[in-house]
Symmetry: C2
Subunit: 143 residues, 2 copies
């Protein structure tokens, strides 16, 4: 069994390829893929207030990782943050108008990339792929 046939290795190659292509596309917006994913989350959850902890839980990364990404987004004025008045430990994160405007332009690219990834697959194959990936994810989490 060569490494190139390991599921884990193929998944790494796919992930890094997605990142490279997405980052090339997002460069025109002065964004990276990780940063764009945060903006998508904030847009999808704009009815609720979002804390750093919410983002850590959703993206399953540690808090220093989230802080770094948020600092860069705030530096570029795509988001703003303010301390929660009811619990001063918490910082709430909001999209700025600049961030909201960007979302509309990016939504198109997001759908395009996701669709190109699964072209040549039948609907059944896509369903199967989803199911198997979720099984793999569950398995790896249990180790």
């Amino acid at each position: 069994m060569q490494q190139h046939d390991d599921i884990g290795f193929i998944i790494k190659l796919i992930n890094e390829c997605i990142e490279k292509k997405a980052n090339q596309t997002l460069k025109q917006f002065d964004l990276t893929l990780s940063q764009a994913r945060i903006l998508f989350y904030l847009h999808d959850h704009n009815e609720a207030t979002t804390s750093q902890k919410d983002l850590e839980d959703f993206f399953e990364v540690t808090h220093p990782t989230i802080i770094g990404i948020l600092n860069r987004l705030e530096g570029k004025c795509f988001i703003r943050s303010e301390t929660n008045s009811k619990d001063k430990r918490v910082k709430n994160i909001f999209l700025t108008d600049k961030g909201i405007n960007l979302f509309c332009s990016m939504e198109h690219f997001r759908k395009t990339i996701e669709q190109k990834m699964i072209q040549d697959l039948t609907n059944d194959q896509i369903r199967e792929l989803h199911t198997s990936l979720k099984t793999v994810y569950k398995n790896i989490q249990e180790i």
Copy 2:
């Protein structure tokens, strides 16, 4: 469509989960997953000489990335390198005895993780998963 259902997002979650689990396991050997993959490659190709360029091509990463990993491996004496006498631009990479010994201990963990990932899947499902992932990889490369 929520982000959690995007194939690209699930693949990112799987990849980072694999890295975390593998790095925990490999800590006892003073290795990371990326470093271990290099050692596996060198062991699998021990009949041929390996240059930095060969590793860049196989792992599909840029040369600064490979140089960083190799420097850390050489600092820990798992590999050694020497300039190719026939082409002085080229540096050839070799496993040391320390690196060879480690390989045997790690091979067990590699197979265990890869098997746990695909448990609960039938052979047909595993074949389908492989095929679909390779299609996705091809698609994303063409963007």
